[in-house]
Symmetry: D2
Subunit: 223 residues, 4 copies
């Protein structure tokens, strides 16, 4: 079974469709029940598709999510996150706190709970960040902050988990043509950006392992 | 005038003493009124030393702090922060949230308010991080996360502020022999670590600018 | 047509076999004629397999190689390189110079010639480095130096080539069980390392592009 | 005694003047005898100033240089280096090889010889790179390559030398108004760049150590 967070839109939803085509059992998480249900119902699969609403910055809701899993997943794709852009002086402090909750707090708490429960299992944790985790950009200061946080978290966890069968895979996609932009306050013509479906397809293809190795870091760029 | 956050202990307190010896007017911030007052009273100076208690993860308290400044500061030394260590599975979610508030939220909001108010002034913003912002370490996953966040923030803000006279200086100190360790849950023999006074002295010496340049990034290591 | 440098052994040879199975026309380069021929003859393909010996740190030999190409390639996989390990004080200066020639000079000159000739063509340049390009390791100082050089080169070239259809893909494989180790002076039990065939297979799968994007950076780790 | 490489011009010459004012005994190295002598004669000092011509990419000349030292130095400032700029397609392969020799080979061989001879001495090795070692820039691809190489070398050597009293200090200066630019083929108005004297002064001030620590990394930027 594969768990996908942030599955109610964007890359998370596209990955859900992609993996359903392979007839994988899916456990989808999102914050918005209506949108999550819509995604779950669009998916055609011979295997069960479960949807579970949870706010991932609330520890109890994360526990609820993991308690609801029918079995230990083989992969968890953490796609949940949100954006916030523009000059720092113009950003609303409450929106900044929301950005931190959605991207830093949620990711730490999700990985923590997965590691607590499955430390001795061959679980693959795929963490979707952004090219902004690798390259600083003007007018993306707070977004860079939350994405670099996740990169630092993963870098340290890989050292901590050296003797665990858990693998952490870091994914850095460039800009996609999704709802992400209008909801994060950046007016952009994103028509030449990558489609979420394209990125989902490339990512699924690149998530490869062999007997003695695996692809651990993947950047996906426009161009 | 120089503003120092996190001045009630550790490197912030040591920097306050250091700059007072140069007879700089100081504006000290801390979360704990009693400890902040004790530091303020220990300092000998011919110039005014003001102490202002504020929780830097609360937007209104940050506004209060900046409103209380008698003039535009020439330098702001952001030393406030806290630690949290150990395997991620053993960390308390509420302490993780506190760690994020103290290190990510506070730093973003302090820099935001300074930039809002002084964008056209030759203000020097000195942001004290940690060697953990540069090197990932096992059992420091959440601490690395919050410190990498600050590094990402600064990297992007430098691009955003290219045409502003504000300078941002990044400081990466290694382990010091301070209260930081006992309060962050890491039992360590820190007797061979750097003393806060040593680091404060080196940092003050290294914060140099000339007509056409300045020292922008400073790492201070044990050894 | 696909050009593969360093095709006479290791990952280069394994990639040659991999792409031959897809019936791609191949143009293989190596320094050692005998070993390169052996690889070329082992490969089964319906398409032409050409072998061309050249020392890639000699500008004229690189020109010769590109002059010999029957057409503009769609992809160039630069796998050529060598290793050198151990405490720096014990390394032979002539072997260090060889290491620099094989890894820095050769890579710069190959990319330079490709860019000179095909700047306006949709060429994909795949540059195979090492996990040592990302993480410093004790007793790998000179090897890290030459691999970080290539990473710096690529990072700058991507900016320079922003308006060119050329794509540069960075590949960072971890340790493989190949001839690389015995020839680079490091006595290691590499039996649990990745096989070159495994890495070649994963890399080929991950070299994906879509209408609006492509996978630009790929790390492949043991585990 | 302090050894300074690349002392015949630019930052190396400026550092020589700076340290002479502190009455430090100096041992200056350069490639050009005439220019090196001119610098040595301009310097006023009560302590001996020796000048030694050597090409640092030639192992025997490096041995000659270290053999000529009258005693173990306390500090070695490695300033030698050269630049090469412009689109990669327009660079001359022989000039690229010169660039690699001057910056990668020379630095490796100098550090190697110093470590061979003084592994158990409290020697401070100061390696001057460039801001191009930290940030990739278009049309500086080969220059970035050689500077990133040095950064990788230092990062690995620090791990290798953990139990040695040798310290390696990394210095990243931004653009200076020196002969460097005209000789590296980049036509620039550098009148607002930092003067070598300014950078030398700031660097000397920042090269601070205390009982338990030292400043290990220093970036110096324009602005």
């Amino acid at each position: 079974m594969i768990v996908i967070t942030g599955a109610s839109s964007g890359l998370g939803a596209a990955l859900a469709k992609c993996y359903a085509q392979d007839n994988e059992a899916l456990f989808l998480n999102g914050r918005n029940a209506q949108r999550l249900d819509r995604v779950a119902h669009q998916i055609q699969s011979k295997k069960p598709i479960q949807a579970h609403v949870a706010n991932l910055s609330v520890p109890n809701e994360i526990k609820g999510l993991f308690d609801a899993l029918p079995q230990a997943p083989k992969m968890l794709l953490h796609c949940a996150g949100s954006g916030l852009f523009g000059p720092i002086a113009e950003q609303d402090p409450n929106e900044i706190k929301q950005l931190i909750d959605n991207n830093v707090t949620a990711c730490i708490l999700v990985l923590q709970e997965a590691i607590k429960r499955y430390k001795n299992k061959p679980l693959t944790l795929v963490v979707v960040m952004s090219s902004a985790a690798q390259t600083a950009k003007a007018n993306e200061s707070t977004y860079c902050a939350v994405k670099w946080a996740v990169k630092g978290l993963i870098s340290a966890l890989r050292l901590e988990l050296k003797s665990s069968p858990i693998k952490i895979i870091a994914v850095y996609p460039g800009g996609m043509n999704t709802d992400f932009w209008p909801t994060s306050g950046k007016a952009l013509d994103t028509s030449s950006f990558m489609q979420a479906d394209e990125v989902a397809y490339m990512l699924k293809q690149a998530l490869i392992s062999s007997d003695n190795g695996y692809i651990s870091d993947i950047s996906i760029d426009r161009g």
